[in-house]
Structures are given as C-alpha cells and as structure tokens.
C-alpha cells in the first residue's frame, strides 16, 4: 500500500518495505470555560492501545480530572494502572521536572504508556492556547503575519516552553 513519503526520507533509492512497528499518538485540545483545557489523548501501536481524557487548569497547569481506558495490553495486571492514573490529579504539567514526576508517579507506579500520553498532552498545553489565539486573530485579520503574531505571543507568554530553535 502506498504511503505519503516524508520530505526528509533519506534513502529514496531503496525499495519500500513492510512497516513492522508503528506507533501513533493523537492529542486533541478543547479550551473550555473556567480556564480549563480538556485533552483527549490516544496512543496506539502494534503492542499497546490506550486513551485518556484529562482536564487541566491552564494558569497552574494542574490536572483537575483524568479518566483512562486501557484497550490492548500484554498482561492481565496492566489494567490496574487505570486507577493509578488518579495520582495525576493535583500534579502540575508546568515547572521543572514535571515530565520526570509524571513518569515516576504514573509510569513506574502504573503504566509508562499512560504516562507518555499525559506528558504529550502536557507538552501541548500552551501550544493549544496559542493556536486558539492565532485562529481568533485570523478571523479578525485574515492577512495577519502569522510568524510575527506567534513570535509576539511567545514573548508575551514566558510560561511557554521553547522546544526548538532550529528549522
């Protein structure tokens, strides 16, 4: 079956061969009333399949509610990790070392794949706010310079982590 080739595929002269391991992560964010964002996170790969829904207080980054579904796993004990997800309530997805804390409390005590979804959602916290503000600005001014808008937004929101400076 044909797949869209990534632009950076390095060895195009070689034949397309079978994919033996594929993992997809999908994060959706809804900005809600009351300064909350609701994340829906899914992770599916050949071995595991799981999903979470998590509400986060935007200013503090604190998880206020979380639900999880473990759909495919390798051991009958794995679903016990669903209740351990509640350890996330009260944790902040901001500040130094928050990813390590999530991995320790949700991953090592429960399931690292649940932790991976929580972490990916947390990485989207400020990006979701920025995307929403950019979309609103474009409604008002469709010819807006998006790069300039984003640069200013990032300057005005020091809480946003800078993930990358390269292109």
């Amino acid at each position: 079956m044909a797949r869209a080739a990534p632009s950076c595929r390095a060895w195009s002269s070689e034949e397309e061969l079978m994919i033996t391991l594929s993992r997809s992560q999908l994060v959706g964010a809804e900005l809600m009333d009351g300064g909350l964002v609701r994340f829906n996170g899914v992770q599916e790969d050949h071995i595991y399949g799981m999903e979470i829904q998590m509400d986060v207080n935007i200013p503090t980054g604190e998880v206020v509610a979380i639900k999880g579904w473990m759909k495919r796993y390798t051991n009958p004990i794995c679903p016990r990790a669903v209740e351990i997800l509640q350890n996330a309530v009260g944790m902040s997805l901001r500040g130094a070392d928050w990813e390590r804390k999530v991995m320790r409390e949700i991953g090592r005590k429960g399931c690292e794949h649940f932790a991976e979804i929580v972490i990916e959602c947390g990485r989207c916290l400020d990006q979701a706010r920025l995307a929403k503000d950019l979309e609103e600005a474009l409604k008002v001014e469709p010819s807006l310079d998006q790069h300039q808008f984003v640069a200013k937004w990032v300057r005005d929101h020091p809480e946003m982590r800078e993930d990358c400076r390269v292109s």
């Binding site: 990534p6 632009s7 061969l17 079978m18 391991l21 994060v27 990358c164 390269v166």
Partner: protein, 162 residues
C-alpha cells in the same frame, strides 16, 4: 465540541533488506511540522545516518536542523542514551523536539524487536500469563519496579526476591 488544537505524531520502523533498520518519526500539529529519519545498524543499533526537517511556525531560525541531527550519527542505543542525545541536541541553541524524536525512534527500534519476543505468548491467558511475566524477570531483572505489573502487590512479584 470543535477542537482548538490537534497534534498527530507517528513513528514507524522499517527493516531494510541489508539488515539495517530505518525509523521515520513525524510530528504535525496546528503550529509545526517536524520529521526525522534515522538508520540503525544491528546488532549494536548504532545510528549510521540521520536526517531532519523542521518547519516551525513557533520559532525563528538560529541553526540548521539537518546539521544538528547529524550529531547523533555514531551514537549507539544503550545505557546513557538519554544523556548522550540530550547533550548533543538540546541546550539553548538546540532542539528539545529533536532530542525527543531521537529517543522515541530508538525506543521504537527496541519495540520492533520486543514485538517478536511477545508474539509467542500472545495466546496464553490468566495465570499462565502471570507466570510468563515472572519468568521474564530472570532475563530482565531491571523490569522490577518499572510498572504496575512488576510493582508491589502484583501477583507477578509473588515469590520473587527484590
């Protein structure tokens, strides 16, 4: 409710005819597009080739993604990988996203091999599955305390010296 933001991330492992393994890692969301391609050479899983393409709406340019990613060529998947990759790719002029991409790609290569070790036990259930997990500890003692299956109170850990 209509979503305000969406992120889609995929990592794919493709074994090549010459025995090497290629990993494609891609992230697309409302604000950016990042892709890397790594070639791993078994049995030591050394990264022999690395390519990257970063199209950020988020940030300006200050370095080349391609020049940066090539720093991981020669790195071997093994102990200390996180620290090594972070040292090469992160930092004030680096790219945390590329660091994550390399680590997640390396993890995917491991999962690719793990998949085939798990397959023979895929049909067993219940107590047999728990016994199989316990037996797995003989070969992978580092699993102890790694997740709920190998944590305190798990039936898998009954009779296991910790």
């Amino acid at each position: 409710m209509i979503l305000d933001f969406i992120r889609n991330k995929i990592v794919e492992v493709e074994p090549l005819a010459d025995g090497n393994v290629t990993v494609y890692w891609r992230l697309r969301d409302s604000l950016q597009s990042v892709e890397i391609t790594l070639k791993f050479q078994p049995p030591d899983l050394v990264i022999t080739e690395a390519k990257a393409d970063v199209k950020p709406l988020l940030h300006g340019q200050s370095a080349s993604a391609q020049a940066l990613i090539q720093k991981v060529e020669g790195v071997r998947v093994g102990p200390g990988l996180r620290k090594i990759v972070s040292g090469l790719l992160s930092g004030s002029e680096g790219c945390e996203l590329l660091t994550r991409a390399v680590l997640e790609s390396s993890n995917a290569v491991i999962l690719h091999f793990t998949r085939y070790t798990l397959q023979p036990g895929d049909d067993i259930e219940g107590d047999a599955k728990i016994a199989a997990a316990r037996a797995n500890l003989k070969f992978n003692p580092r699993m102890i305390g790694n997740c709920v299956v190998y944590g305190p109170g798990s039936p898998v850990m009954q009779g296991v010296e910790q």
